[in-house]
């Protein structure tokens, strides 16, 4: 079993780094090539969401990402924002998406969740076990 851990300051510029690392580890873990685009997108969405929450709450704490390949490829993205903000898988209907009243931030959040839910079959969003925050846990099968 291999584990790679990454924590980064909650700045947009580092989300790309997390994506690149996440895909590199996925490839080494044996995730199918044709799933790697989805892995890249999903890790990016989870990290983007975490960065947005830290900035919204003015939290300087790092965003934590852990990748492990024990049995399957598991990625955990952990934020430290208050729970009420974190959960809420809002799926937006097409007619809502184009509504004038919907802010760009709200739209981006809804679309981000739609992408996570659409691209990750095994997805969990849950409170962290210790302290404040939410964990987005994503699992992909690996070839053995």
């Amino acid at each position: 079993m291999a584990t790679v851990k990454l924590s980064f300051s909650p700045a947009p510029v580092h989300v790309r780094t997390a994506r690149l690392v996440g895909v590199a580890v996925a490839r080494r873990a044996g995730v199918r090539e044709d799933l790697l685009d989805e892995v890249r997108l999903a890790i990016g969405e989870a990290c983007t969401r975490a960065v947005a929450l830290h900035r919204q709450y003015g939290l300087p704490d790092p965003v934590y990402v852990e990748m492990s390949d024990s049995g399957a490829y598991t990625v955990r993205v952990v934020d430290r924002a208050p729970i009420e903000a974190g959960i809420g898988l809002a799926a937006l209907a097409p007619d809502e998406l184009a509504q004038e009243s919907l802010s760009e931030d709200a739209l981006t959040t809804g679309v981000g969740f739609a992408l996570l839910a659409g691209f990750v079959e095994d997805l969990q969003v849950r409170p962290v076990e210790e302290g404040v925050g939410t964990e987005v846990r994503m699992v992909w099968p690996v070839r053995r």
Binding site: P12, V13, V15, R16, R19, D37, R40, L41, G44, E45, T48, V51, A52, L92, A93, P94, L97, A98, E100, E104, D105, L107, T108, T109, V111, G112, A114, L115, G118, F119
Partner: protein, 118 residues
């Protein structure tokens, strides 16, 4: 790959060619460029995503923002995209029902309902 942006005029249409990665870091530059174009008077805008190799929710949010702005100004907005991975993103988010999506710039321009097809 970094974000690249290039603008050209095709008849009455303004075509913005986007390349590279559109994500939470680079999307503000795309937003800025679209606002510049719209504030500068562009009313028929086509965004060509042909050279985009990554697009996330932040980028999609910027594109929806431009669509709304142009609609309320009586203009038109269309996307050019023929890559399956990107099209899948539009389908999953239901944004394929919000944006006019075309395989080529020519198709986008001739399908423009505001009637300025070249």
């Amino acid at each position: 790959m970094e974000l690249s942006l290039a603008t050209r005029a095709v008849g009455e249409h303004t075509v913005l060619e986007v390349g590279g990665e559109v994500d939470v870091y680079t999307a503000p530059r795309l937003r800025e460029r679209l606002l510049e174009l719209i504030d500068g008077g562009a009313r028929r805008v086509v965004v060509d995503l042909g050279r985009v190799d990554f697009l996330d929710s932040t980028g999609l949010g910027v594109l929806v923002g431009a669509l709304k702005r142009l609609r309320s100004a009586g203009g038109s907005f269309a996307l050019v995209c023929d890559k399956e991975p990107l099209l899948k993103i539009f389908r999953i988010t239901a944004l394929d029902q919000v944006f006019p999506l075309h395989p080529t710039v020519d198709a986008a321009i001739s399908a423009d309902p505001t009637g300025a097809g070249a």
